[in-house]
């Protein structure tokens, strides 16, 4: 069965520190991979996506993610976190035949001043 795991429910980092949010998936074939961000009470904003090719993808707001096939992972990173990055982050693989996304449980990011 297809599944996605975000092992960290809640992460707290200091402003200016680096960030890595983990995502692991289990799919029959390599899915398309997405990261979304959701601020409290708001909708979903796409941060970045991976379909094929270069395994390091750049997104908006200074985020990047690296696809590692051997680890079935697609971790999200940012070198220097800003207070405005505090939000919920969702990893969402999309099955290539289904066209729908399966969302992870999400990771809540808190940024300390």
């Amino acid at each position: 069965a297809q599944s996605v795991t975000q092992p960290d429910i809640h992460i707290t980092v200091s402003e200016g520190a680096s960030l890595e949010l983990r995502c692991n998936y289990s799919y029959g074939a390599t899915p398309y991979l997405f990261w979304y961000v959701q601020s409290p009470g708001q909708g979903l904003q796409l941060l970045l996506k991976y379909f094929s090719g270069d395994t390091l993808v750049q997104g908006i707001k200074g985020f990047e993610a690296e696809f590692k096939r051997s680890q079935s992972s697609f971790n999200l990173r940012k070198p220097s976190v800003h207070w405005s990055d505090a939000a919920e982050y969702f990893c969402a693989p999309e099955g290539t035949n289904a066209g729908k996304s399966t969302f992870g449980d999400g990771t809540t990011l808190t940024v300390k001043p």
């Binding site: 398309y32 997405f34 979304y36 708001q42 909708g43 979903l44 796409l46 996506k49 379909f51 094929s52 969702f90 969402a92 999309e94 099955g95 290539t96 035949n97 289904a98 066209g99 729908k100 996304s101 399966t102 969302f103 992870g104 449980d105 999400g106």
Partner: protein, 116 residues
């Protein structure tokens, strides 16, 4: 930039009442989706829709739910007899293609449904 729009942003309804959530997908998109997010939980897939029929649905999407594309622009989710546990944020999404690569679903801002 084109966007998916959802109305209303917040709807309060009494238990047992019917509710219709409305979405206007991006105009050249062909695939449409509904997701829901119960407060504090993850986003869950409900249904996908293509060529005027449901292409996939989850176990959540039972007989009380239905979707429709009544005209060339709107995509609606109807809940026939709302229950308290239907209270959630409902997201509409659309995409140009499904499973064909190099495309993604664009999400609306959501409709918060509160059943009282």
């Amino acid at each position: 930039e084109p966007e998916v729009t959802q109305t209303p942003s917040h709807q309060v309804t009494q238990m047992g009442q019917e509710v219709i959530l409305r979405c206007v997908p991006i105009s050249n998109h062909l695939y449409f989706y509904w997701y829901r997010q119960i407060l504090g939980q993850k986003v869950e897939f409900l249904v996908s829709f293509y060529n005027n029929e449901i292409s996939e649905k989850s176990e959540i999407f039972d007989d009380q739910f239905s979707v429709e594309r009544p005209d060339g622009s709107n995509f609606t989710l109807k809940i026939r007899s709302t229950k308290l546990e239907d209270s959630a944020m409902y997201f509409c999404a659309s995409s140009e293609r499904s499973g064909a690569g190099n495309t993604e679903a664009f999400f609306g801002q959501g409709t918060r449904l509160t059943v009282v």
